[in-house]
Amino acid sequence: MSWILHRIDDRLIHGQVVIAWGERLRPQRIVVADDASASNAWEREVLGSSAPGIEVSVLGLAAAAAMYESEQARAGGAFLLVRDLPSAHAMVVAGAPIPSLMLGGLHYAPGKEKVNEYVYLDAADRRAARALLDRGVKLEVQDVPASRPLSLESIDAAVRTS
């Protein structure tokens, strides 16, 4: 069973993940793949205790890519969370055969353009998105289970030419 959600979200673990998707899919494990969080002991401790009843691992991108296939063989469901599109691309380049990614929350920052209410992208994001699409990774935009998933290409013309 293992991977039941692959999500790109700059908040990593938060309410939509733990409450909305967690109640719907009931994961046994959450893997946070993020170099900054993995290198910060306090951040590891905070994230590790953030989802009571769920085992949380905080790994760097390379380590997460290395364990991706062994996790796939484990019993019970798992969520994979990455902070942004370049990080997701780095995991795929490092060898993680991720079939699809949900763009769940990429908030505004200077230089980023609005795609919808919760996804803002800049040129680097779009290059990473294009590279993922070219590798056959499906990219869908969806924040919570009750919202309709939309392909990134259908709502962001710029990613088609990036």
Binding site: R11, V46, A51, H107
Partner: protein, 132 residues
């Protein structure tokens, strides 16, 4: 009498502002409590705003949030690193907020946080209807 413990409410959407407004209808005019919403904020942005608020509290204070594991809690937790005098209380409801307002001048930070936890938990009760 202790020095007043400052508090910051950080919650989803408009909840912090609405909760503070509701508390005001029971308590009266409220001073010295700021509110933040997580709406439209990235993790880094919300962490920065919380850090800026609690940076003005040299003697510490309380970050009051809605639920454990949400972005408000986790971004607040980032601000606690190296600040043992700061405490987060999650699951804040109106009774807990009112208890804070009535007691913020009477307890040190950690004792007040533990009091709010108890008050919030005790305020959730079930009253069954009488069968016909």
């Amino acid at each position: 009498m202790s020095a007043r413990v400052p508090a910051l409410l950080v919650m989803h959407a408009d909840l912090a502002a609405a909760l503070l407004r509701a508390a005001g209808t029971v308590y009266g005019p409220i001073e010295g409590v700021n509110v933040l919403s997580n709406e439209g904020q990235s993790r880094a942005q919300l962490e920065g705003r919380i850090a800026s608020e609690v940076g003005a509290w040299p003697a510490g204070g309380l970050v009051l949030t809605d639920f454990w594991g949400g972005s408000c809690h986790l971004c607040g937790a980032a601000a606690l690193h190296g600040r043992g005098e700061l405490v987060i209380v999650t699951g804040i409801n109106l009774p807990a907020l009112l208890d804070y307002l009535h007691n913020r001048d009477h307890y040190p930070v950690l004792e007040l946080a533990e009091r709010l936890q108890k008050k919030g938990q005790e305020s959730i009760r079930v009253q069954r209807g009488q069968p016909a």
